[in-house]
Symmetry: C2
Subunit: 179 residues, 2 copies
């Protein structure tokens, strides 16, 4: 981030420098005809050398940013699909909680669940941890009075699991928390 | 693609031009000391103007390529996760084919299946069509003798569905084909 700011500053400076240079070239041409051809040629050379150096630096900035952006796109590429899959995981959990499933069905459901979780894990998706209430990752949908055995900010129950992609939250865990 | 090739050619040309320019500058400096200061300054100006123009053109190429790459990354970003989810869809289909499911379980499985298919569809994933055998999208794992009612290259049965992401194949459909 600090680097980005620095680069933006450099660009502003070079833009400013650009304007100054253009002005001076015009002034040279219009107002001081007594300048020698050699002086003009040297100024022209210097002008293009500066332009070249700036263009070169700008290109490196563009490449660096494109690389950063590509890495970011790669890292979070699965965000939308992963988010859209979460309700299927909820439905699977609900289906698995139904009483009186045959072993075949239960095994089938568990296979689907495991393969989904595995696919998500490979892309960097994991469940949000719920030991201690954390407003960055949890949403308290209900509270219970805290007591000696249940200090404030302890999670009492998870109503719906939360998930994150790397360090980015996909959806918060819905929890009941002691307060 | 044709444009890419063109650009590479331009780069090669400019590289070649670079070498020539550098040589001529050296020759100028070493072998023809009688060249006037003005000539040298003009050559220097021209040299940097060319370098500037090339750097500018190269930057536009870099930006254009970065844009293309970004669009491509966006378009196929879900490829890996989508591919990893396909076995879950297979397992769901198998689970749904089990005899004697209760209505509750069946409904739950269908909900999971629909929400998965919907999530995939939103990312551009669809089933491969199987009317006519197409080696680009199908894999013939078994053949049956063709006859008057079943001409060659007609798909007799789909053993496992195939899927594609936009026009890109995620996995071929496994089919039995008349031959």
């Amino acid at each position: 981030m600090a680097e980005d700011v620095k680069n933006e500053e450099v660009e502003k400076e070079t833009e400013a420098a650009d304007t100054v240079t253009d002005d001076s070239v015009q002034e040279t041409a219009e107002e001081t005809p007594e300048k020698s051809e050699l002086q003009l040629a040297n100024e022209r050379a210097e002008d293009f050398e500066n332009k070249y150096l700036r263009a070169h630096a700008e290109m490196q900035n563009v490449q660096r940013r494109a690389n950063e952006e590509r890495q970011n796109l790669q890292r979070y590429r699965s965000q939308d699909l992963a988010k859209a899959i979460l309700p299927s995981l909820d439905n699977l959990e609900r289906a698995l909680a139904v009483e009186g499933l045959t072993d075949d069905v239960k095994k089938g459901l568990e296979m689907v669940q495991e393969s989904l979780l595995q696919a998500l894990k490979e892309e960097g998706v994991e469940e949000v941890e719920v030991q201690q209430f954390d407003h960055n990752f949890h949403m308290a949908v209900q509270t219970l009075p805290a007591d000696d055995e249940h200090p404030a900010d302890t999670v009492a129950e998870v109503l719906q699991k939360g998930y994150k992609l790397h360090e980015r939250l996909l959806r918060p865990a819905m929890v009941i928390v002691y307060n």
